[in-house]
């Protein structure tokens, strides 16, 4: 029934429009484009309107783009991708249109067609009008890349200048849609000012937004509450800035979730409050990542590798990354270091960096030292080589000082492995 109610006005419209075509209302239709152009934006040529109202279902977006072009603030909304809701913002602007035929429902898209009497291309128009016809190629209604819209959207241009990587964001369609719909002045600017308040520098904003594009859908009030919560837990402003920079998704977590995670780390690691704080500031990824690997790794250290609890605590405060390391790599590294290089637990605890290096590096260097006869890892004996010197220094210095050989010899040895 609703359909029939709509259909009648449609026919009524078209009848009216036809009457408009036949009547000598040309001057009226000319003044309209002139008015829209005063806003400084281009309007689609009159010719396209011919198609619009004849196939109303398909090309309504085209008409919406036609009429929305006059509204500079909503310039971005016309470039929306496929969703039906993209047509909804255009409807709000319809009500502002002058000389709208008010008697019909706003759901009817045909209404705006009334304002534009169909114009035949053969009809002569004045020079001024001719100049004012701007026939740009239309924007694609749907696209898989933001490249098509970047030149026409101020928001996107400003984001690119900030340093946001649009090629990564366009892989997430909802985020891309959101960006196209947002207005720089109204929405994005506030978020950027808030982030600057938190302590992120200008040149870091781009990287942050690339990672966490979902922050635009968060409520500013909630974000402020979360930052206040962190401050209440005695994280200094610089700490919070560092955490947010390193783990961009931190502020998307609700207060209770953050609370739970901090509590988990305190309980699990049994460290003092200050040490837990330092740990989390150094590696804020712990708060945003999954907790299962952490639990598993704690068990691995304790049961499989045989470290005592205080040893694990010591190692973790030195190298927080150990908590999120891959279990297989951990066990392989430990197996080599403990069983092949015969290094006991208490020395490994002193140098937890071995768990952070690649296994092949440790293997190559150890085998080279064995070949040279310099593999001495016992601190009591002479010519002792400490583990951190083994793994942390670059190749040239390692060859010169520790192995007392040249880099070419090392390369030759590597080719015999």
């Amino acid at each position: 029934m609703a359909l029939s109610a709509q259909q009648i006005p449609r026919w009524f419209n078209s009848a009216k429009l036809r009457s408009l075509i036949n009547a000598a209302q040309l001057t009226k239709c000319f003044t309209r484009p002139g008015r829209t152009l005063l806003h400084g934006f281009s309007a689609q040529p009159q010719i396209s309107s011919d198609n619009c109202f004849l196939q109303w279902g398909f090309k309504t977006y085209k008409t919406s783009s036609l009429w929305n072009s006059s509204q500079s603030t909503s310039s971005s909304s016309q470039e929306n991708n496929s969703t039906q809701s993209s047509l909804l913002p255009s409807m709000d602007e319809q009500s502002q249109k002058p000389q709208k035929i008010p008697s019909f429902d706003s759901e009817l898209f045909l209404e705006e067609l009334d304002e534009l009497p169909p114009l035949s291309p053969m009809q002569p128009i004045s020079e001024e009008e001719a100049i004012q016809i701007i026939a740009d190629p239309p924007l694609p209604p749907a696209s898989f890349t933001l490249r098509d819209y970047v030149d026409h959207s101020e928001t996107l241009q400003k984001l690119v200048l900030l340093g946001v990587d649009l090629s990564k964001i366009e892989k997430h369609t909802e985020a891309a849609n959101l960006l196209l719909r947002l207005d720089f002045e109204k929405d994005i600017k506030q978020m950027l000012l808030f982030l600057k308040d938190v302590g992120i520098e200008d040149n870091q904003l781009g990287a942050f937004l690339t990672k966490n594009h979902a922050i635009f859908s968060e409520d500013l009030e909630n974000l402020k509450i979360r930052v206040a919560y962190l401050h209440s837990k005695n994280f200094s402003k610089a700490d919070v800035a560092q955490m947010v920079r390193k783990a961009p998704f931190l502020l998307n977590f609700s207060v209770e979730r953050l609370d739970n995670r901090l509590g988990f780390f305190q309980k699990e690691l049994e460290l003092s409050v200050k040490k837990t704080r330092d740990l989390v500031v150094r590696l804020p990824r712990l708060l945003t990542g999954s907790l299962e690997p952490v639990k598993e790794n704690m068990k691995v250290y304790h049961l499989e590798l045989g470290f005592k609890h205080n040893e694990i605590q010591h190692m973790i405060t030195r190298i927080p990354k150990m908590l999120t390391a891959n279990k297989r790599k951990l066990t392989e590294t430990f197996d080599f270091v403990h069983n092949v290089m015969s290094i006991p637990h208490h020395i490994i605890v002193k140098f937890p960096q071995v768990f952070n290096t690649r296994l092949f590096k440790i293997k190559e260097r150890h085998l080279f030292l064995t070949y040279l006869g310099r593999a001495q890892y016992d601190p009591a004996k002479p010519n002792y080589i400490s583990l951190d010197k083994l793994v942390s220094i670059p190749d040239e210095i390692f060859c010169e000082e520790i192995a007392k050989a040249s880099v070419q010899d090392f390369d030759k040895f590597l080719k015999t492995l």
Binding site: I131, Q132, I134, L156, L166, S167, E364, L414
Partner: protein, 347 residues
């Protein structure tokens, strides 16, 4: 730098694959490093687009509108909008090495991938060195490498490594080993001739055999053209093998069979490829050298040799493929009809 760098990236080069690295990971790492180098170049100059702006004409009293063409910078080419310029490179792998084996591995980039199959078809000889231990030692490290070394073979091998009952027997001497190796070489030589589909009674085939140029025509199992013992320090011995169409599995099986022939057991502890065609250990790139610059230099260094070898091998193939033509000068003494049959049988 990007496109110029890419144009220099066509050809073959060799890397040294360390043990314990899967060949696929190696290929992916090399691709990533090359892409990093290519994308680090200068970004493209920003495009401009022409916009016609409406504005009052200068020098007129009335408000007459006119269009002026202006060129505004466009962000369409910006790297933050398009993404990195290079996202994918065609990198092909030559004769594969499995995880535990190490040695020279030939990779092809871009157009060079086409040459990889040619190289394989050209049947360029490859040499592999390995060390084997005669008896299974009880040391934890050796055990594990042995077990891992045998992991990709069937279970048969794993049991071999686990049996610690074999002790080093005294009856294994260098002479026995050499005799066995000579036997192996002989039998493989016969197999080589068989797979090459050549009739050795012809003059041309004989000349080729003398020069050592016989190659198998189609797919064939591993063919050993030369094998010798480099170092014999019981329980370990080191063999150098020159072979074709080999797989690591078959090589390890070979060691096991040598052990059986010697009335004991032997296990292969290391397989290392020292040469693949004309790519030797010297030209192979180590892990620290897997970046754009070094690979481009390596390709350029190897290019003339690659071209020469392929021409030679193609010429060889054309020689054998050429059917008896009237202008063919042939020194064979056989009657022409049988000669024609023989040549036909040669394919």
């Amino acid at each position: 730098m990007g496109s110029a760098g890419l144009s220099r990236l066509h050809g073959l080069f060799a890397v040294y694959k360390p043990p314990g690295l899967k060949w696929k990971h190696l290929r992916d790492t090399v691709e990533l490093q090359l892409l990093k180098g290519l994308n680090a170049g200068k970004p493209p100059t920003p495009k401009q687009r022409v916009r016609f702006l409406l504005g009052p004409m200068e020098g007129s009293e009335e408000t007459e509108l006119t269009l002026t063409a202006t060129s505004v910078p466009s962000l369409v080419n910006h790297p933050l909008v398009c993404g990195p310029a290079f996202t994918h490179l065609k990198i092909g792998m030559g004769h594969r090495l499995d995880t535990q084996a190490s040695g020279v591995l030939v990779l092809g980039v871009g157009h060079g991938c086409r040459l990889l199959t040619d190289m394989y078809d050209a049947h360029l000889t490859k040499r592999i060195l390995w060390g084997s231990t005669q008896a299974i030692t009880k040391h934890f490290f050796n055990d594990r490498t042995l077990r891992r070394g045998c992991n990709d073979d069937n279970n048969y091998w794993r049991t071999c490594a686990l049996t610690t009952t074999c002790l080093f027997p005294d009856h294994v001497t260098r002479e026995k080993l050499d005799r066995i190796l000579a036997m192996i070489q002989g039998s493989h030589q016969k197999a080589l001739v068989m797979y090459s589909n050549l009739d050795l009674k012809t003059q041309e085939a004989y000349e080729m055999a003398v020069r050592g140029l016989i190659r198998p025509m189609n797919k064939s199992p591993m063919l050993i053209t030369g094998i010798r013992c480099l170092h014999f320090a019981p329980p370990e011995f080191l063999l150098e093998v020159q072979c074709m169409h080999e797989t690591q599995k078959e090589l390890r099986k070979l060691v096991h069979e040598i052990g059986l022939e010697l009335k004991t057991t032997a296990v292969c502890s290391q397989v290392r490829r020292t040469r693949d065609g004309f790519f030797t250990l010297d030209s192979a790139l180590l892990r620290t050298q897997w970046d754009l610059r070094n690979i481009q230099d390596a390709i350029r260094a190897a290019a003339p040799q690659v071209a020469a070898e392929l021409e030679k091998s193609l010429a060889r193939r054309l020689d054998t493929k050429q059917l008896p033509s009237p202008g063919w000068s042939w020194e064979s003494q056989g009657p022409s009809s049988t000669f024609g049959l023989e040549r036909g049988a040669g394919h």
